[in-house]
Each structure stands twice: as C-alpha cells, then as structure tokens.
C-alpha cells in the first residue's frame, strides 16, 4: 500500500481533491464569517446550501445554462436566509433555534422540489455541469499545476474571495461598521450605524455564498442533485469559522485541513478497498472535533455574536 501512496500521481490527485473538497466549505465558511462578524450566528447553513443545490440543478436543467443555475442558487440562498433574518432581526427569535428551523424547512422544500420536478427515481437525472477551466501556463506546472489551476470557475471564485473578504472586512468603512455591529451593537447604534441594515447585509452575503456553495456541490461537483447532498458540510463550515478564529485566512486554513482529511480518506479507500470504508468516513469529522477541542482558545468570537439587538433592552 505504501508504494501506491508514494507516487507523484497520488499526491497530485490528493492535492486536487483537497482543493475541491475544501471549496464548498470555504464558500459557506466565508458567508458565515460575514454573518457572525455582524453578530448573526447562523446554524442554518446546511439548509441554505441544500436550497442552493436544488435550485441550481433545476434551473440549469430548465435553461441549459449552468451560469443561470448559479445565479438561481444565490437567489435561493438569499431568499431562504431572509426568513432567518426576518425572524431574528425583526421578531427577535433565538438565532440558534431559528437556524435549526431553517435546516428543517429547507430540507423539506428541497425534497418537495426535487420530487415534483424530477419525480421519484432510482438514478438522479444528470445535468450539464460546470466545465473545468485550465489557466494557461500555470496549469502546466508539474504535480500542482493540474491540481490547482485546472478546476471549475467556482473553485477560483472561492479562493479569490479570501483576500477580497479580508479587504472588505478589515480595510473598508462598511466592513468596519459591520464588525462594530457584531462587537458592540449599542455603541454602533449610538454612532448612528443601523444595526438591522448591517445584520441584513451579513445575512444576504451569507445566503448568497451558501447558495453558491450548494451550486458547487450540485452542478460543479456531482452534476446532479441527490438527497442529502450537503451531508454535514454546512456544519463543518460552521466549525471552520470557529476554528479559523473569525478571520478569512483562518477560515481558509481550517477548510483546507478538513478538505485534506476528506480527500485523504477517499484516496485511501480507493487504493485499498480492504480498509473498512465506514471507519474512514469519520476522519474529517474526527479531525474537526479534535481541532476544536484542543486548539481553540475561549472567547475569541465577536462579542455580540448570536445576541439579538433591540433598543428597548
């Protein structure tokens, strides 16, 4: 088995798989970063991704254009997250509970849409997915070139969003305001910053990126919608934000770690079928759990994260 591991092609596919598996986590994680930085802790990511996935597949199959499918996924993610935003910002519902409700709601809507559009079937209908775009020259670098620079467009988008997010959050005025709303809403309010507006902004970006992430899973990775397509990735992305200490670089590293754990277990399974498959599946979850328990300091998050704001309180 070891001689199978120590080959160039093994490492090349491993890197490619890591980058691919980390992409949906990164997109969702960055979305959640905006949300939590504005004080909105959203555990409904799983549901938002599911909505993105189903809408991207249906719209792609209707229009034949994956690009329209991606747009639809973002709109679906935003629309679904507006229920969360309305309930928590306006109605002051508990954010964690509301997030769970979004998961329950989105799962049932997605199943309903899937079964009424495609019908109940043995094999899910495939749609024309996203094509890989090779970047000239860079993709010719040995070992890593093919892995890093011959991916589909959403992969590039995800990784480009890391510096963009850092710039927006830490180097622009709206970014500062958004963070201040998450740290100390009362002070921000007294400075004339609208709390609902910035929290709504956080939710909108979170919805859009989670929808995008669902679209990546459905039309960028699987080319079809299968039930339970997200299978816990929303929760792992949520963990990645905590593990990444609420900054874009940290989220990137955390998602790459989880992506690597996922890619590794899949590669090992494919080259040595005698390893118990079920036990390998738990690796990414176990890595996440250990990372959280042993490498996290207490109280690093935005101070008002998860706390609803109302002037009367």
């Amino acid at each position: 088995m070891l001689d199978q591991i120590l080959t160039v092609s093994f490492f090349s596919t491993l890197i490619a798989a890591t980058v691919r598996m980390a992409t949906p986590l990164l997109l969702t994680g960055l979305g959640e970063l905006y949300s939590e930085r504005s004080g909105m802790i959203n555990i409904g990511l799983e549901g938002l991704m599911t909505m993105g996935a189903i809408c991207s597949v249906i719209v792609t199959s209707m229009t034949g254009s994956a690009f329209v499918g991606i747009l639809a996924a973002m709109v679906a993610g935003i629309a679904c997250n507006m229920i969360f935003a309305w309930a928590t910002i306006k109605r002051l519902s508990h954010q964690i509970i509301m997030g769970m409700v979004i998961n329950i709601l989105a799962a049932s809507i997605a199943t309903l849409l899937n079964r009424s559009y495609f019908g109940i079937q043995q094999m899910p209908t495939a749609v024309e997915g996203l094509q890989n775009v090779a970047i000239p020259l860079l993709s010719k670098i040995p070992i890593i070139g093919e892995a890093l620079f011959n991916q589909n467009i959403l992969v590039y988008v995800a990784y480009l969003l890391v510096p963009i997010t850092w710039y927006l959050l830490f180097r622009t005025k709206p970014g500062l305001k958004l963070r201040s709303v998450g740290e100390n809403p009362k002070a921000a309010d007294s400075m004339g910053i609208s709390i609902p507006k910035y929290r709504l902004l956080g939710c909108t970006i979170c919805g859009a990126l989670s929808g995008l992430s669902g679209a990546f899973l459905a039309i960028g990775y699987m080319s079809r919608y299968v039930e339970n397509i997200v299978s816990g990735r929303g929760f792992i992305a949520f963990a990645a934000v905590i593990f990444g200490r609420w900054n874009p670089k940290g989220v990137l590293l955390a998602t790459l770690l989880f992506g690597f754990a996922d890619a590794l277990q899949m590669r090992i399974q494919s080259i040595s079928p005698d390893v118990n498959a079920e036990i390998m599946v738990i690796v990414p979850y176990l890595v996440t759990l250990i990372a959280l328990v042993f490498f996290i300091r207490k109280g690093d998050g935005p101070a008002a994260n998860g706390i609803n704001y109302s002037r009367s309180k």
Partner: protein, 364 residues
C-alpha cells in the same frame, strides 16, 4: 389563576392558528400539483385515525421522537443545546443489541432492564463528552454534538460491517434478536409496544425532577442565569455535564426501545435516523414542557401515518406533509400568528405590515 388560564388559552389559540396556516399552505401546494386538497386531507385524516392499526403505527412513530424531544428539552433547561440526540440514539441501539444478543438465556424482563440500562449508559456517555468539552474547554456544544452524530453513525457502520455483522447472510446488519426478547405489544394487532408506557413514565419523571427537586432546581438555575447560580454556590460545569449525561441517556433509551420493540436488529443505515432532529422539533413544538412534547410527538406520529396512506392512495408525496410540519414549527417559533393577531386588533404600523407580507410570501 384566572390570568394563567387566559394565557394558556391564548397559547392554544395561537398554536391552533399556526397549524391551520401551515395546512393551508400545504393545501395550496397540493392544489398546484393538480389534486383536490380537501380529498387529500380527508384521506390523511382517515389514514391517521381510520383503524386501531393506524393509531398503533402513529404511536410507534411517536415514541423515538418523543424520547429525543425530552432529551433536547432536558439539556435546554440547563441552557445546553443537545443537537446530538441522533448519535446518542445510535449508542442506545448498540447497547441494546449487545445485551439482547449476548444474554439470550436470561429471562426477558431482565434482558430488557439490562438492555435499557446499558443503552442509556452508552448514550449518556456519548452525550456527556460534548458536555465536558463545553464545561471545561469552552467548546460550543452545538458543533461538537453535530460532529459526534456523524462519528457515531460511522462507528455504527463499522460495527455492523465488522464485529457485529450477522452470522448468516452478507448484509451489513446485526443478527435478529430472539422473538421472546422483543418488547410486549400493548394493543393486539398493532406494533405499539411497551415503549409507549416508558416514554410517558420518563416524561413524568423528568417533569417531577425539574419541578419538584432541589437538583432539578439547580439545573434550571444554571440554565436561567449561570453567573447568578454560581454566586449561590451551584457548580455550573457540573450541572452542564450532568444535563448532557441525562439527555444522552434519554436519547439512548429511544434507541433501545426502537431496537427491542420495532426493528429487532441494527442495520447499517440506522445512524442516518432523523430522530435527533425530529426531537429538536418536538421540544420546540412542545414549548419545552414534557407533556407538550408527548402531545406534539403523537400529533406528528399521526400526521406521518396519515401521510403514508395519502401517498399510497393519491400519489401525493409525503414530502408535502414534511413541508407542512416544517411550517408548523416555523410559525410557532416565530410566533407568527400572534403577531398577525396583534396587527388585526391594533391599526398596523406600515413597517410591520410590510415585514409580515414579506414573511408570508417567502413561506409559501
């Protein structure tokens, strides 16, 4: 007294309205799909209440989600979110099957008691781990319990494809437990088993513990205001760990009775059960009251049995009813109807009405 009755009355009225509203949305979807909603709901009601057998099925469906609802409720009383009931159910099932397969020669009641004790213990330990992480390492229990669900499910898969695999066939499942070791049936001709009684007893015990004992009071005190509780010398971390142990044990019993009373063997997909998430829904619907959880679980059991009949007879998918369930939860959590009623009585502010319309449009 008078005011509290008024309050309960108001609550019941709002609950009823939330449920009605969710069913109206469901009816619209059924109509859009080209069926007659009234006819469909007629079949649904008939499917739920039509025969003793159907009511028995509803009870069978209600038992595990009621246990999980109680589990979520109990942890929440100490302000801990137990989203890990799913994984704790898995360990309960493993405990039950280990006892039932290895101690076949013992009399049935002893096997049941041992199975439930072992299952509750395993579930409790699985629940206690995130409790310890939260209490002593400050790790968010929401995320650890969720991750541990996937780990439990993977370990279950490994067990039933490895050491616990059936001796005969090649399927990833354990052996069947002996016929004599199955939980007794309560109503002849149905599958309703002893678990129904157990869950009612559990609900009563939890209610008593939380309401009438000092320990229960301390646990609730930590849940209501941890820093105030610790000023009075109540250990916050110990109560967090305790609440998660008991919550895990309750969910573990759900797994036990499901194996001993309904499934009789553990299959590899048992880890994908939805009981844990249903349990959260039940805790929300039951407004964190043990008896409220029993009633909502029975309601959902009836609804799902009816939905199954509806799907068989009319081709309307059960996923419509899943959506109705989700909407009921949404409306109740946001207290949507209450808001709506208030707006009816008072002349509405322009802004509030706009938000209502927006919410309504998205829900549909």
């Amino acid at each position: 007294m008078n005011t509290s009755w008024k309050r309960i009355g108001g609550k019941a009225w709002r609950l009823a309205l939330s449920i009605l509203l969710a069913f109206i949305v469901g009816a619209i979807i059924i109509a859009v799909q080209g069926h007659n909603p009234l006819e469909a709901y007629g079949i649904l009601i008939k499917g739920a209440f039509g025969s003793v057998n159907n009511i028995g099925e509803a009870l069978v469906k209600a038992v595990p989600i009621a246990f999980c609802g109680l589990s979520v409720m109990f942890a929440f009383k100490c302000s801990v979110f137990n989203i890990g009931a799913q994984g704790q159910v898995v360990w309960g099932a493993i405990g039950a099957i280990l006892v039932a397969l290895n101690l076949k020669s013992l009399p049935a009641p002893i096997v049941w008691i041992l199975a439930i004790l072992v299952g509750a213990l395993l579930g409790g330990i699985w629940g206690m781990i995130p409790g310890i992480f939260k209490a002593y390492r400050g790790v968010n229990e929401i995320i650890t319990t969720i991750l541990m669900n996937y780990i439990a499910s993977g370990l279950l898969g490994a067990l039933v494809t490895g050491p616990l695999k059936e001796t005969a066939g090649r399927n990833p499942q354990t052996d069947m437990i002996e016929k004599t070791l199955r939980l007794p049936i309560l109503i002849d001709g149905t599958r309703a088993h002893l678990g129904v009684i157990l869950v009612i007893i559990t609900a009563f015990l939890l209610w008593y513990y939380l309401r009438n004992t000092t320990k229960g009071y301390k646990l609730r005190a930590v849940g209501m205001n941890a820093s105030a509780a610790s000023c009075y010398g109540i250990s916050v971390s110990r109560n967090i760990v305790k609440s998660m142990f008991i919550a895990g044990a309750i969910a573990g019993i759900a797994g036990c009775v499901e194996i001993l009373g309904v499934q009789f063997r553990v299959i590899n997909t048992f880890g994908l059960n939805n009981y844990g998430f249903d349990g959260i829904a039940m805790a929300l619907l039951g407004q964190l009251s043990p008896f409220g959880i029993l009633i909502s679980s029975l309601g959902f059991g009836l609804l799902r049995t009816g939905a199954g009949t509806m799907q068989r007879l009319t081709n309307i998918q059960t996923s419509v009813v899943d959506l109705v369930e989700a909407l009921i939860i949404l409306f109740i959590v946001c207290d949507l109807t209450f808001n709506w009623l208030k707006k009816r009585k008072k002349p509405a502010k322009a802004q509030g009405v706009k938000a209502d319309e927006k919410g309504g449009a998205e829900d549909a």
